[in-house]
Symmetry: C2
Subunit: 403 residues, 2 copies
């Protein structure tokens, strides 16, 4: 298996064509123009699976996709992705607009609207500029391509506050997977929701794909924290069109799931590395827990703590903040059993500091990539999370007025 971010070549992926262009969506909102509309289409029906945000405030495209996917898990043909407007908190009109976009795309691709999914990311509470969407969809449908450049363009066109496109691929016994993702905070200036689309030409039943995807997301996208905010639009979608000779079934399911998971991990880590204002990439390893769920809960509180994240930014081996965050995770723990390492350098044992060399601790804390391990001393379960620091630039990016 090969995985690479921003590869210069891509494996053959049969039957997917895609395109991206500037549909004038940003211009409509008075912002500098850039590619803002992307269409990924399969020549034939796909088995599809998706994981959506658990936020109770769900954007219109999420609500629509949930209905369409439930009705057609084996017959999805395309996904349309726009930036500039999240089409969230837009009421009935937002739902109608999302449906209309699916209908226009279906018309251009000669399929039913219920076979087209839609994703939006951008400012919450703004309506899609519908005439620009219509024109953009029609133009897009005429220029679909299966070249590596088309994937690169798609990875770029779905960016908002991202500074880098996120594209990864994997091969699987002669079949391929190509994935793109975007996301850098929740909504900043108020956008940057997390979206990802993975296309593959394996043949697979949608139920199997859905159960695999849920676990893969749980071990990848659900293990990253930029700022702890959860978007109204977060969606990860896999489309499998079955045009290779490779069938995924009970025989090779575990192997395919491992491939899918690693692809998701690469995309997820790319999101953290490109986190809004991020200067550091932190791997948080919580060990010695009574259960993986408790380990993850402790890790999540640490990863979202503003004090922990600013200490990471300052390169300060300020482990007291990490222990204090663990103590408020609503997980039973014994402070006297806590141990902590920065990389392989132990600072804390039995809940109290070792007589360590502060200069060495600081050297570890100032590395751009750092693994912090917290052992709870209560069991054998563990969890790994990836996060970034909280910097001046994060505040600048998110404090800036939207216009």
């Amino acid at each position: 298996m090969q995985l690479e971010i921003l590869p210069t070549d891509l494996p053959l992926l049969r039957g997917f064509r895609l395109g991206a262009l500037d549909a004038g969506l940003y211009a409509h909102f008075g912002k500098p123009t850039r590619p803002d509309l992307t269409l990924i289409a399969s020549e034939v029906n796909c088995a599809a699976a998706a994981v959506f945000t658990t936020n109770l405030v769900k954007a219109a495209p999420v609500l629509l996709d949930q209905v369409y996917l439930a009705a057609n898990p084996s017959a999805i043909r395309a996904v349309l992705i726009n930036t500039a407007s999240a089409n969230a908190c837009t009421g009935e009109r937002g739902l109608k607009n999302a449906e209309q976009c699916a209908a226009w795309t279906a018309e251009a691709l000669s399929c039913h609207k219920e076979q087209v999914l839609v994703m939006s990311t951008g400012v919450i509470g703004t309506h899609l500029p519908m005439s620009r969407m219509q024109t953009g969809i029609q133009r897009l449908a005429e220029q679909l391509s299966s070249t590596p450049e088309a994937w690169q363009a798609a990875a770029r066109a779905i960016m908002t506050t991202d500074t880098k496109p996120k594209l990864a691929y994997a091969t699987f016994d002669g079949a391929s997977l190509i994935g793109i993702a975007k996301g850098a905070g929740m909504i900043a200036p108020n956008m940057a929701t997390m979206l990802s689309v993975i296309a593959t030409d394996v043949r697979i039943a949608p139920e199997l794909l859905q159960s695999m995807l849920r676990r893969a997301v749980d071990n990848s996208f659900n293990c990253i924290v930029v700022d702890g905010d959860m978007s109204t639009n977060d969606t990860v979608l896999v489309m499998a069109n079955g045009l290779s000779d490779v069938t995924v079934d009970e025989q090779n399911a575990a192997k395919f799931e491992a491939t899918l998971t690693e692809l998701c991990v690469r995309l997820a880590q790319a999101i953290v590395r490109d986190g809004e204002g991020a200067t550091k990439f932190i791997t948080l390893h919580i060990t010695g827990a009574r259960s993986a769920a408790e380990a993850r809960r402790v890790g999540n509180v640490i990863a979202t703590s503003a004090l922990v994240k600013t200490a990471f930014y300052g390169g300060d081996p300020n482990w007291g903040r990490i222990l204090a965050a663990a103590g408020r995770a609503d997980v039973p723990l014994d402070p006297a059993r806590l141990s902590l390492w920065y990389n392989d350098f132990q600072l804390v044992a039995d809940g109290a500091p070792l007589n360590y060399d502060e200069a060495r601790a600081k050297l570890h804390a100032q590395q751009r990539e750092l693994t912090v391990r917290l052992d709870l001393g209560l069991g054998t379960a563990e969890a790994t999370l990836w996060t970034c620091d909280l910097s001046h630039d994060y505040v600048s990016i998110n404090g800036h007025y939207r216009t």
Copy 2:
């Protein structure tokens, strides 16, 4: 009732004497010297009540105070407060040091060590410089005074990253209450835990005082959010020495509780106004909830959201972030029933934006003091929280290396 922050005169409070000085604790850690040790003593035994941090990682002074207070709720004589070291995550040695400080104070005041409470705030994971503590306590005991200046000095000496001392008073039927507080983040550079001491000369049973204090704290200190982090050392203590003619019992309990609560609210709001890097004071009013607990949970997620707080900093009426935060509060809600106001200016109805004047919304968002009301449309319960923004200065203060 009169309440004032940093008053120039204070009401007569019988039987309390206090003092503050530079005991060289900061100097021990190689930092610029400043007053760092405070002692507040009553001439006679006090009924006392306290609310402590719920963090599972509790500092040694918190663990000690819980034992002493449970044993002597009617016979507390004094509280010793140090800065520079939080005496947290310090194991058995930390507990012994806290106990020794109480013993030295008791010796100087001619009482038992179990009648002395201790509070610490400062860097986590450092041990108290004990010889400096001993000398400081002895010197302090010789210079106790009941003057307003002594209260001002105490309010200043317990500060860490606070930029302003926090002192408030109230009178009650000829008796008095004087309170001081400190706190500006959790632990920054890593200190700034929240501490408060309120002294009063009413006569009151400790059980009654404890139940009152718990409710008062719940409606004051527990309603403020600076950064969402919870300290290892947070403590609010009330000492009532009964030296006035005023007895609090069933007859006037409600009135006294109102006075105590308002005093706590003033001190709590002073902490938020002085929040690390804060440029704005935000009142969050969550209405239309099914229960006050749910209203508070929604408010707490909004108040701790980095994206919401940076938008407040930028003066951006970015209400989408507020709705998105509400949606992940783990509280049942119907997005289509959400309404939102900045002060009296409504931006959102039925979960979608009104056709409001963006310039007017921005004017509201850029005020230094702002009330944001979110109505959930589900019931009649409500909650009010006070919070501040997340600024570049917050990152500077907390990202800075400790030394």
